[in-house]
């Protein structure tokens, strides 16, 4: 079992004909994901990588029954692409694109209110339910089906953590990259809620980082609502304040954004804090053994 995506997910790729879109669509197909449609305005009616291409998301849904969208649209046009998917009633949008202007995302969030669409990202590696569906750019081969949920603001750091888990024989129910932007579509709390409800997730690994207050909100949720154990690493203990560390959202802006404040909140919520990121796998193993 899993959250967000599974065997029944019918994926649409927005921006399927671009170089990134093509490359990763191919990898998703090889992994076994069901890619049922692509959208590139102006290329409707053609086929790409054996997938039918449509001009609009609305048409693609009508013709193929797509129920999730994976977005590779360039940053200047990405917000428009997300809005199009929301307007078409797409239940899940996973936006990989990095570099979308903040004020474009303000509009997207405003438009999302009251709509049924769940947005993951932008600026994220995507979502994978091992053995079922890969909707993202992560390396498929490092994953193993299992019962640990993974949530992260990072890409490659998550790959490292997932490899640690897999090498110890610990499989994952679903791995969700919520992205490195300041205004993510889904937060840690949104995904923790799903893992808490998911019967086949036994524990959660949460990879946070400096900037914003999402980890503190997660801490509140963990202490009040979460019955499953949460193992945490927060990146950026050594990051200088006021500097953006690669991710748009990874900038220490005042005391709440510091790694130490986040770690404090999460440890008060009785999450298991891992100070050394190379030991997330081992720590998770120990936590699972106590269940």
């Amino acid at each position: 079992m899993s959250i967000l995506v599974d065997k029944n997910t019918r994926l649409l790729v927005q921006g399927i004909t671009g170089s990134e879109g093509s490359f990763h669509t191919q990898r998703c197909i090889e992994y076994g994901s069901r890619i049922v449609a692509g959208v590139t305005p102006g290329k409707g009616g053609s086929q790409h990588l054996g997938v039918p291409v449509f001009n609009t998301v609305e048409k693609a849904i009508a013709e193929t029954g797509a129920n999730a969208s994976l977005m590779f649209v360039p940053p200047a046009f990405a917000a428009d692409g997300i809005l199009e998917a929301i307007a078409a009633g797409m239940p899940l949008v996973v936006c990989i694109t990095e570099g979308i202007p903040v004020l474009d995302m303000v509009k997207v969030h405003r438009y999302l209110k009251g709509e049924a669409t769940r947005l993951i990202g932008p600026n994220c590696p995507g979502v994978i339910s091992p053995g079922e569906c890969k909707a993202g750019i992560m390396v498929g081969g490092i994953h193993l089906p299992g019962s640990v949920g993974v949530i992260s603001r990072s890409g490659t750091l998550t790959y490292d953590v997932v490899s640690q888990l897999t090498s110890l024989g610990i499989g994952q129910s679903t791995c969700v990259g919520i992205g490195g932007d300041a205004l993510p579509g889904s937060t840690f709390v949104d995904i923790l809620e799903l893992f808490e409800e998911d019967q086949d997730t036994k524990a959660v690994v949460l990879i946070g980082e400096i900037g914003g207050t999402m980890e503190q909100e997660a801490a509140k949720f963990i202490s009040h609502k979460m019955t499953k154990p949460v193992v945490v690493f927060v990146a950026g203990s050594t990051a200088p304040p006021g500097k953006r560390m690669g991710h748009a959202g990874a900038i220490i802006t005042g005391s709440a954004g510091k790694a130490s404040e986040k770690i404090k909140a999460l440890s008060q919520a009785e999450a298991t804090i891992v100070p050394n990121p190379s030991e997330v796998g081992l720590t998770t193993k120990k936590v699972l053994e106590t269940l």
Partner: protein, 420 residues
Amino acid sequence: MVAVLKTVFAFLANVGSNPTPSASGKQGGNLKIHEYQAKALMAQYGIPVPRGRVASTPAEAREIAAEIGCQVVIKAQVYAGGRGKAGGIKTANNPEEAEKAASQLIGTKLVTHQTGPEGAPVSKVLVEEASDVTRELYLSILVDGASHLPMMISSEAGGMDIEEAAQSSPERIFRSDIDPAISFQPFQGRKLAYGLNLGGGQVVEVTRLMTSLYKLFIDKDCSLAEINPMVITTDEKLLALDAKLNFDDNALYRHKDIQELQDKEQEEPLEIQARDWGINNYVKMDGDIGCMVNGAGLAMAVNDLIQYCGGRAANFLDIGTLNNTERVVNSFKMFVADARIRAILVNIFGGMARVDVIAKGIVEAYQQMNVPFPVVIRLAGTNLEEGRRILAESGISFIEAKDFYDVANKAVKAAKGVME
């Protein structure tokens, strides 16, 4: 609500500033501009600013003071805050004094609590009419990560450290979230104006100013628009006495005019160099281990691990996912040119980035330059075997690390010279 505001104000207090010496209030993701440029932009939007102009020489400062014809203020133009306490703002009663004050600032380095000991170079001063002030207020707009909306913040505690104000008297701080679909509305201006204890015509006047500031914020893709202090003069006029505008880097592609305002002199030279070489995610830190990592989270975690192992990273460097060898070679160029470096750490987890391409880049770097310090390399992920083969067959000398911890630990030892 109070907790939220505290966070917000903690944010404001640190925007564009940095108490640690290594990063010194320089560019860090959001483009900054000088006060005189921010005031010019605000003036274009009808926001009242003091009469004045920018000068690059003391003689120019004298001319401007003569034109203004009354007491003037000479303000050093640097990106860092805290100028007043650091002696970067001087008053002058006549053109001669203005010239003298300007000569004491131009060509010097101003050290404020935000610059670190090296200071920020002053090559321009803003010369403007001195104002008689009865009240100092605070006004800003930024996007709130929790509500996902731009919010206007006002306070009577103008001129002072706004984080301090938020902690000592949160009840004096007012906030209004702005719906982008209908933009800033007069009722919001009234709420904030009455919160500032303004009355009569000033309510309309400040609402107009707020509406203009919001328009500027949206038109130019600002990440921060701040007027601190916004003053009321003895003749009851509103005036933006100081002005700060930061811009969203992601939106700069649609604002060529703003890009041109950037003053590279105010930024960290190594960070400018990195960007010129196509390495966009480089941040100077204060250690001696040069780090090249793919992915921002992994790069941060590597720096944390280095400290965990008892060392210090010289930089944060996310090489990104572009599959070419040039960026790898340029990263090595950065390290070789950086006199602080004692060892290099390479940690690549191939995903979108391919390990073989990175390995080729490392070999090319060794061919193009003398690498005078130990290099510790950990590779994993896409095309790992091919990458290993390329490194092995090249005959270059490096220290191989098996995992994440190993690479940090070995790099720390190598930098301390306790490892071959």
